[in-house]
Amino acid sequence: MVGASIRGGAGLRAPGATLGKAPAPNGGIAKPHGGDAHNKAIDREIKILKSDPGVTNVRKNQQQADINGNKVGTNKPDIQYDQKKCHHCVEIDNSALNSTRHGQVIRANDPAARVDLRRLP
């Protein structure tokens, strides 16, 4: 199981424990994240999400939150949003060096979150 050694993870907190209130969702409007290709892929996906009226609380590269707006980790998923009473996290992996732990960290911080691990096209 995921332990305290994973950066941005739950550490010694109980799984799903919160760290106070998360910053307000930035609506997907944030400074560029990563390289140009990576950032454009994130923004493309956010544009699609924001066209869906069932999607709320879109976040781009903000610290991990849960469905109740609580901060649950210091890691920053590429995209977060809420849909049908579920919190979703999307990671668009572009590096062969750091993609092995994204899903574990997110799930350890919030076992109720749905995680979509994608590759940058």
Binding site: G34, G35, D36, A37, H38, D93, N94, S95, A96, L97, S99, T100, G103, R107, P111, A112, A113, R114, V115, D116, L117, R118, R119, L120, P121
Partner: protein
């Protein structure tokens, strides 16, 4: 592909360093356009040339999307599963899991006694994903149904 073109393509392959930079993805897009599903053949050659684990990891990482259509991608992963780097082995096992090729199960099970301890869970997850015909199980180790792994279209 003639000799000069092949050399140029090899040079582009050598730009794949795993950092995820725009330079790396620019090279990747050119390679994808030029080679299509033959790209893994060049990635396999690149893997054999690469000195750095980061470059070797990148070769496997970028071959993963071809796992269901390219034998060279499978051959690359079967080589890389014995790499001295845990990250490279992880990428290799992810590729094999994504392939969903049942004919690989016996080969993967044969690795179980000798695989590095730090990769044993990844190996078991790859075998599980193939047996269950669900690539998501490589990243969703307890079958929660809450974690998905998506590759770009070819």
């Amino acid at each position: 592909v003639n000799k000069i073109e092949s050399d140029q393509l090899d040079s582009l392959v050598d730009l794949l360093d795993g950092r995820g930079s725009d330079t790396e993805y620019g090279a990747l897009h050119t390679l994808h356009l030029e080679l299509g599903t033959k790209l893994p053949e060049f990635l396999l050659r690149g893997y054999k040339r690469a000195k750095s684990w980061k470059s070797r990891s990148a070769m496997v990482f970028h071959a993963a999307r071809y796992a269901r259509v390219s034998q060279a991608a499978i051959d690359l992963a079967l080589t890389a599963v014995n790499d001295k780097s845990r990250v490279v082995r992880y990428q290799a096992l992810l590729l094999l899991a994504y392939s969903l090729r049942k004919d690989l199960i016996a080969k993967l099970e044969a690795l179980e006694p000798s695989v590095s301890a730090e990769s044993s869970e990844d190996l078991a997850a790859a075998i599980d994903a193939i047996k269950q015909q669900n690539q998501n199980y490589f990243v969703d180790r307890n079958h929660s149904g809450m974690v998905t792994m998506t590759m770009p279209d070819l």
